[in-house]
């Protein structure tokens, strides 16, 4: 009899493969995608389709160049996940070439150049996002508003969305408006209270729309936690740090700062906390490391939102903390069984 010779363990947790992990993360974004589509029209879905195709094509092209099995790697769904995250993050009516640039840059330069899945030091989706954000600031700052507050008073239809993405939509301006974060950023000399009273982007309908979006992503994130695909450390630390920072400044400077609730429920707070910062490849790996890493992103988000050049700071916050992740990892090793103290630092040796 030809017996299988193999080392232990001989059994594996059934079904939970890397492709399953990636698929679950994609499914967990669905509530957010649905809410975004509900509020801002079909643009997000079209973006997702474009991003998906671009991601798979660029991944396949590079794999072919690297002489790797294309089918095997495409089936891990990691490229598709990057595409989904980018499709969600980009404004719904952003021209198709912006999406393609972002996605292909993310796949080719942020992921495959470093050796493909598992080897990228930076979050590919956020690299792609940052590249198009600094390269094409105008289309990147055009967010749609909810129908009740925009000038046209209605939502973009599917064909209008297609037109806006692939050609040009002259009437687009009557559908777009500043996001609450954008509006608050550019309140100029107004104090907080009057800004919330006068600026259209800071009216209840606009703020509520973003609250719904954030709640949807929180739901998806909780599902990931429940599935044990992510741990609570990164999102909790990120949101906690954002809460503490905004709370602190809100207490000291109520007239100029926004409330912690505003910070936690607008922009990409929840999406970033549960879907972007938790990318395992580019983040810290130990539980303590994840706490520091998440807190760092939370602090950076507040700093960029308040004093930086961009209304939201998730992408840059994540990328900056990606830089720090390996170092944090060195100093946050868990205490191993039987050791009095955890080992820290880069210095080899120094036992117990």
């Amino acid at each position: 009899m030809a017996l299988l010779r193999i080392t232990s363990p001989h059994t594996q947790r059934a079904g939970r493969r890397t492709s399953w992990v990636m698929q679950m993360v994609i499914y967990a974004t669905l509530p957010g995608i649905i809410v975004q589509t509900w509020l801002f029209g079909w643009g997000t879905v079209i973006n997702l389709a474009i991003a998906g195709v671009a991601a798979l094509l660029s991944e396949a092209a590079i794999l072919a160049m690297r002489r790797r099995p294309i089918r095997f790697f495409l089936q891990d769904y990691s490229a598709l996940l990057t595409a989904v995250l980018l499709g969600i993050a980009l404004p719904p009516t952003v021209p198709w070439w912006v999406t393609v640039t972002a996605v292909s840059f993310a796949i080719v330069f942020a992921k495959q150049i470093y050796g493909g899945l598992g080897n990228n030091p930076f979050n590919p989706a956020m690299v792609g996002y940052a590249i198009v954000l600094v390269s094409f600031p105008v289309p990147m700052s055009q967010w749609l508003g909810v129908s009740s507050v925009v000038a046209s008073g209605e939502m973009l239809s599917f064909s209008q969305s297609l037109q806006a993405i692939f050609h040009q939509l002259p009437v687009i301006d009557s559908y777009t408006m500043a996001t609450p974060l954008d509006g608050f950023k550019h309140k100029e000399l107004l104090d907080s209270q009057s800004a919330f009273e006068t600026l259209p982007a800071l009216q209840a309908a606009s703020i509520d729309s973003w609250l719904w979006v954030n709640l949807a992503y929180l739901m998806g994130g909780l599902a990931l936690l429940w599935l044990r695909i992510i741990t609570w450390h990164t999102p909790a630390a990120l949101l906690g740090a954002l809460l503490v920072m905004s709370g602190l400044f809100y207490v000291f400077d109520t007239s100029n700062a926004a409330s912690p609730f505003f910070h936690l429920t607008t922009g990409a707070a929840m999406f970033g906390a549960f879907f972007i910062a938790t990318d395992p490849v580019s983040s810290c790996t130990s539980n303590r490391g994840k706490l520091i890493y998440g807190a760092g992103i939370g602090i950076l988000i507040y700093i960029i939102r308040t004093w930086g050049g961009y209304p939201d700071g998730v992408a840059f916050g994540v990328l900056l903390m990606n830089f720090a992740a390996p170092l944090i990892d060195y100093y946050t090793q868990p205490r191993t069984y039987g050791h009095k103290k955890a080992k820290t630092g880069l210095k080899i040796g120094g036992d117990h």
Binding site: L3, I6, S8, P9, R16, V21, P334, Y337
Partner: protein
């Protein structure tokens, strides 16, 4: 009873238990196989030594192999029969190796040898009972096969706070301990109490997973019946709670320090099987010749537990459990988490075989292709040792051995929890095993190269010292021969006159006897000298290797030898003095002696002594020069010696200048020659010390140059070395002084 606090350990997994299959049938008793194959290594440590020869008839329970060294075990015949071979056979080994086995052909009679129980064990000394357990071949039956007597003795190094009986059996599929507890509850309790009597722990606890309700109930019943103080603690089912370190944490909340053993924190762990085997050995006198093993897996139609004789081939048991050959895809010894696959079913059951898992393809499918690690951290959440498996994989793949070690790779217990949860199907444990062996290889190589370096340096220092000594000797010889040449010229006429005189018969008659004793003394002196030299060499080596105990012991030997040598020398000198005519009678040319001869001879001797003294002066001068070159501290002592030596040389010269054949020169002679020899040996020692110091200081200077950041510690070391030297010098100086004194008094 179940009020005890249960702690928890990090991580762990919940694989499918698959334990019910093998518990459907009662405990089976397979028939005798055609032959029993008994490997000589069924335990950790040295293989046993066969006590039987091919063709021997053995009785059931008779010893057939004896333990070989401290960490080894005895082996007994599982049944009566004939030894048909002692040869290499395939054994149950992770790498599929073969090993030396005793092959026993059963005669089917099952005739027991005389059993020797220890009914009065409670009155006996613990060591006697422990040695009885050793004689009965008891080893740890949980998996490692650690000889029980060694473990019990090791438990005495610290007062035991806990004696833990491992009944967790956390591996999926395996139910042998469960069955054992159900079948032999009373025996188990008595066995535990026996061990407790031997180790006297403060608390005795049985740790059992909550997935064995029948066994727990049976234990509870028996414990109440016996009114036992043993505590039964039910722990939640979680793999690997049966790992020794994990169970200790579960039951005591303590962690066994990394690199240490449970005994180091006053804890002893024993498997339930071992306790029952201990009971049978002491109460019934039965050696360890059988065990309960689980036969399970979907390739078997009748999975069950069997009470099986050691040495039974696996194939025999598979047939007993109705194997479907076509279904069998993977044959595993042990459980699915930590077991290893077998090539063939010809291998025998040994003392540690707790399970045979005959799995089909569907049950344990081939692993999925390995994907990239995405650092998802699931392994980290599952690791019971709180390691970072994902980082360890990274370092293992890139062969960064130091970093892997820094990340505590050696605290990995290879439980396989990380591999089990890995979504990328990475065989993590396999990577770790490979890296561990690479690190061990590297360590061995490093130790070897260090040793080689030390040897080389020690040899160099020795060679330097020897060269210096030779050079000094050469100079001394040169000096001596030069003065001899002068001396022979001077004494030539004298000897001519003596030749003319007649032969003294009485003198020649007495001569041989004295001659013999002096010869003997001379040989003794030579032997003593060579011994001293050898010891000094060893001392130098010991100093090189910094073996402190050896150094002091050798130092003692050296000084003793020196003393003995001095005594011999003085005796020899006395012998010479007692028979001044001996020397002339030694040489046939000088067989005839006149009355003047003794004086003449004395003069000659005095001259030689003077020459030797001069050489000694030169030697000391040279040593002084060297000492001055190297370092200050010992210079003074050498100067003192030089002054002494010069003084002595001058005295001798003076004696020579007064050619009167008076007694002083002859009287002074033995003392002086002894002193000279002593001085020479001291100088030799001095030189070795100087060479040593040179080597040491060179080494330190080199280190100082190569790592300036350590300058402070190194310069401190240098200072310390110098201080040591000074101390050694002062010791030597006092030695010299005392020897001088003894010479003066003699």
């Amino acid at each position: 009873m179940q009020t005890a606090q249960v702690f928890s350990f990090h991580g762990g997994i919940h694989p499918e238990e698959n334990k019910t299959q093998s518990l459907q049938l009662p405990l089976g008793k397979p028939s005798l196989p055609k032959e029993l194959i008994l490997p000589l290594s069924q335990h950790i440590g040295q293989a046993s030594v066969p006590l039987v020869a091919i063709g021997d008839q053995v009785l059931k329970g008779a010893p057939i192999a004896a333990n070989n060294g401290l960490l080894s075990s005895h082996l007994h015949a599982p049944t009566s029969g004939t030894i048909t071979a002692i040869e290499s056979r395939p054994i149950a080994h992770p790498s599929g190796l073969s090993d030396l086995c005793i092959v026993l052909q059963p005669d089917g009679k099952e005739t027991w040898t005389e059993l020797k129980p220890l009914p009065n064990w409670q009155q006996l000394d613990a060591t006697e009972v422990i040695s009885h357990l050793a004689d009965m071949g008891i080893v740890g039956m949980g998996g490692a096969g650690f000889p029980t007597q060694v473990k019990l003795q090791g438990a005495h190094k610290k007062p035991l706070s806990h004696f833990i009986i491992n009944a967790a059996e956390c591996e999926p599929y395996i139910t042998s301990d469960d069955t054992l507890i159900r079948e032999k509850t009373r025996e188990l309790v008595l066995g535990i109490e026996l061990f407790q009597h031997l180790v006297q722990a403060e608390q005795v606890t049985i740790g059992i997973e909550d997935n064995k309700p029948t066994a727990i109930a049976a234990l509870n019943k028996t414990l109440t019946e016996c009114n036992s103080k043993i505590q039964l603690v039910v722990v939640p089912t979680k793999y690997p709670s049966g790992g020794e370190r994990q169970l200790i944490q579960l039951l005591t909340g303590q962690e066994v320090p990394s690199g240490q053993y449970p005994a180091d924190i006053g804890i002893l762990c024993q498997n339930v099987g071992t306790c029952v085997a201990g009971y049978e050995a002491v109460y019934l006198g039965k050696p360890l010749i059988s065990r309960i093993t689980t036969l399970t897996g979907k390739a078997l139609n009748a999975p069950q537990n069997v009470d099986v004789l050691l040495g039974t081939p696996v194939a025999h048991l598979l047939a007993y459990a109705d194997l479907q050959e076509k279904q069998l895809n993977r044959l595993i010894i042990g459980g699915p988490m930590m077991g290893y696959t077998l090539d063939s079913a010809a291998v025998p059951i040994v003392k540690t075989t707790n399970c045979i898992l005959a799995a089909n393809k569907k049950e344990l499918p081939a692993p999925a292709p390995e994907q990239a690690c995405i650092r998802c951290g699931m392994c980290e959440q599952a690791c019971p040792a709180s390691l970072l498996p994902q980082q360890l994989l990274w370092f293992s793949k890139s062969q960064e051995l130091e970093k892997a070690e820094h990340y505590n790779l050696f605290d990995c217990i290879e439980c396989g929890a990380c591999s089990y949860v890995c979504p990328s199907s990475i065989p993590l444990v396999q990577y770790y095993r490979h890296t561990k062996s690479s690190i061990r290889d590297a360590r061995e190589a490093a130790v070897k190269s260090d040793l080689a370096k030390q040897r080389f340096e020690a040899r160099k220092a020795r060679q330097d010292a020897e060269a210096a000594e030779k050079e000094a000797k050469r100079l001394a010889r040169q000096q001596a021969s030069a003065s001899k040449a002068v001396q022979t010229k001077k004494t030539a006429p004298a000897t001519k006159t003596t030749e003319k005189s007649a032969l003294n018969a009485s003198n020649s008659e007495a001569a041989p006897q004295i001659n013999d004793t002096t010869k003997k003394l001379k040989v003794d002196v030579a032997i003593g000298k060579s011994k001293l030299k050898k010891l000094q060499k060893q001392l130098v080596e010991a100093q090189e290797d910094e073996r402190l105990e050896d150094i002091s012991a050798l130092q003692l030997h050296v000084s003793e030898q020196e003393k003995a040598l001095v005594e011999l020398e003085t005796e020899l000198a006395k012998a010479v003095k007692a028979n001044p005519t001996k020397k002339p009678s030694d040489t046939p040319d000088n067989s005839v002696e006149k009355a003047k001869a003794p004086a003449n001879d004395a003069l000659k001797k005095a001259k030689i002594d003077a020459a030797i003294a001069k050489a000694a002066v030169k030697k000391v001068e040279k040593a002084l020069k060297k000492a001055e070159e190297l370092q200050a501290p010992e210079v003074d002592a050498i100067r003192q010696q030089l002054a002494d030596a010069k003084k002595r040389a001058d005295e001798l010269e003076k004696v020579l200048d007064n050619p009167s054949p008076s007694t002083p020169p002859t009287e002074q002679k033995p003392a002086v020659s002894a002193a000279q020899l002593d001085l020479a040996s001291q100088v030799k020692k001095e030189k070795i010390a100087v060479a040593l110091a040179k080597a040491k200081i060179n080494k330190l200077n080199k280190r100082l140059a190569s790592s300036p950041e350590d300058a402070e510690t190194v310069s401190k070391d240098i200072e310390a070395a110098q201080q040591q030297l000074v101390q050694a010098e002062s010791l030597l100086a006092t030695l010299i002084e005392s020897q001088h004194n003894s010479q003066e008094t003699s």
